[in-house]
């Protein structure tokens, strides 16, 4: 048995603007990419080969599914013209369709099935022709069956068209409420209706009410409530005292504090009302934002700007440092401590000498105002071990490991964004502001933020 999947771009392109950066065929339904549901169904139906044919670009889908070895099936890809009808597509893929039976799934359809049922023998015995159809597509069978039987009155699967954000939301809620056991859902489930991924931080004060699905690398802050019928994607931060209820939070989204997301879809910086289709774009550090990782070119430019900034500060601070350092040292007001900190690269650490200036007297206050306590750290910027501005370096502590693949990114630096914004330099608040700027800053903003940090330390 083989499965031919034919999906035209015009059927799914409405999703492109709503979930930017995610290929519509990879849009998650209950945290599982759409295409995976079809792969699972094809496997349940006894397929050992699957071909995905579309007139749209399938690069991301190919990258995700690869050759299908992950599922133990052979996945291949084909292209078609926008005007091609299903018979033309079959004709163009006749080598694939030549031997044996082929399930042809045409259209951007979700197939409701139950993994506990037996589909392989059913599909092997069903007659050829259309099995199920709707205005948005169909499932049909080609090739001859080994045993001739009539199609049963009701088939143990059905179709759901995905043609609007409302349908997408309804389908997700339907699976969450009644169909979680019908599909393979990602995450650990020790009890019914509750799936939780890896690296999920749930403080004691947070409340989780099932049915709920939570992805990987999710941070739920204090007093947050994940109320029933919610799907939280991977790499998501739900800030303190926020309530998520009957909503879908797509991966890489930050939900600010004290918010109530009720019956909505939050995708990056978009908040969508599935009922009315209203979409609002938020670029507000206190509400919700997209979390994206910086590009390599951006990182190189950032490093260059940080190096130049550090050089400038070294030249500026050199003379006062040479003058004040020995005096304050003799007075016992210049204290140094060598410690190991987590480095930017995962699993690595960096040894830093932190300096504390005891602020008792005009000279030490002047030295502090000039940020001379950071002078030696500036050389670490030149060697690439620290950034000029970024996260406050976190001391190496096996009891509090740094989250792997932290969605916010971690860039230890001489000055921190929290200092620049005069936020408290400890606790969750720092993480939030550092997260925001780690994601939204650019090299020029970094210079401005460094100036702010220097200014705030002076005052």
């Amino acid at each position: 048995m083989k499965t031919l999947l034919v999906i035209k771009k015009q059927e799914y392109e409405w999703l492109i603007d709503l979930f930017p950066g995610v290929h519509p065929l990879l849009v998650p339904i209950c945290n599982k990419p759409f295409i995976e549901f079809l792969v699972d169904f094809a496997i349940l139906a006894g397929s050992d080969a699957l071909r995905i044919v579309s007139d749209g670009v399938l690069g991301d889908v190919e990258h995700y599914c690869e050759n299908g070895s992950r599922w133990g099936v052979e996945i291949s890809y084909g292209s078609m013209r926008p005007g091609d009808d299903i018979s033309t597509v079959i004709d163009k893929n006749r080598r694939f369709c030549l031997d044996g039976r082929v399930i042809i799934i045409s259209g951007f359809l979700f197939i409701r099935y139950n993994k506990k049922r037996e589909y392989a023998s059913l599909f092997a015995s069903l007659p050829t022709g259309e099995l199920l159809g709707c205005p948005h597509g169909s499932i049909s069978l080609a090739g001859t069956s080994t045993t001739k039987t009539e199609a049963p009155g009701t088939l143990p699967f059905s179709l759901a068209a995905l043609d609007s954000i409302g349908k997408y939301y309804e389908l997700s809620m339907e699976i969450l409420r009644t169909g979680l056991t019908h599909y393979v859902i990602p995450g650990y489930s020790s009890e019914e209706d509750c799936y939780i991924g890896r690296n999920v931080i749930i403080p004691k004060s947070a409340e989780i009410i099932k049915p709920v699905i939570i992805g990987n690398n999710v941070q739920i802050m204090t007093n947050a409530i994940i109320d029933r019928n919610s799907v939280i994607g991977s790499n998501v931060i739900i800030d303190r005292e926020s309530v998520i209820s009957g909503s879908i939070v797509i991966g890489n989204t930050y939900i600010g504090e004290h918010l109530e997301v009720k019956n909505k879809i939050a995708a990056g910086n978009l908040l969508i009302d599935p009922e009315s289709g209203t979409v609002i774009v938020m670029e507000d550090p206190h509400l919700l934002t997209t979390m994206t990782k910086s590009k390599v070119a951006g990182a190189l430019l950032r490093r260059l700007v940080h190096t130049l900034g550090a050089t400038f500060l070294i030249l500026l601070q050199l003379f006062p440092w040479l003058l004040l350092r020995p005096i304050l040292g003799m007075q016992g007001k210049w204290k140094r401590k060598k410690e190991q900190y987590y480095a930017e690269r995962q699993g690595k650490y960096v040894t830093l000498t932190s300096t504390t200036i005891e602020c008792t007297g005009a000279l030490s206050a002047f030295a502090k105002a000039l940020s001379l306590d950071r002078f030696t750290l500036l050389f670490k910027v030149l060697s690439g071990k620290l950034a000029l501005i970024g996260n406050q370096p976190r001391p190496l502590n096996p009891a509090i490991p740094l989250l792997p693949n932290s969605p916010a990114g971690y860039r230890p630096a001489v000055f921190s964004y929290a200092e620049a914004e005069e936020w408290p330099e400890i606790g969750i608040d720092t993480e939030i502001v550092e997260h925001y700027y780690a994601v939204h800053s650019d090299p020029l903003k970094d210079i401005a933020m460094t100036q702010k940090a220097l200014f705030h330390r002076t005052h």
Binding site: K264, M282, D284
Partner: protein, 117 residues
């Protein structure tokens, strides 16, 4: 933003037409202007017919206006929120703080029917 006094109610009522955006760039302006408007009225209708965008700064400014109005024994009612602006009010739970009406005339009417505190 445009301010005018409506004298059809028992007490003068300030009607503020918010335009386009209320965000970090003009939220201070709203707060400063509101302090002046408070000298003329204590009840207000914020007509959001032409308001397309609001961010947390704008929201903070409107909530601050409400707080000041309440201190003067008045109220701020919102009218004609667009779906996008309404979503921000829902998201931040700020909607619970305000009386919201579908049009400014309805909001003005509500001040006529309910005697001010």
């Amino acid at each position: 933003m445009i301010f005018h006094l409506d004298t059809s109610t028992t007490q003068p009522l300030g009607v503020v037409l918010l335009k386009k955006r209320v965000d970090a760039s003009n939220s201070n302006e709203l707060q400063k202007a509101f302090a002046q408007w408070l000298l003329q009225a204590s009840n207000f209708v914020f007509d959001c017919t032409e308001l397309d965008f609001i961010d947390s700064s704008g929201l903070g400014a409107i909530v601050s206006c409400l707080r000041k109005a309440l201190e003067h024994h008045g109220d701020v009612k919102l009218a004609a929120l667009s779906p996008k602006v309404a979503m921000v009010f829902e998201l931040t739970k700020a909607k619970q703080l305000f009386s919201v009406f579908s049009s400014s005339s309805e909001a003005i009417q509500s001040f006529r029917t309910v005697s001010p505190k």
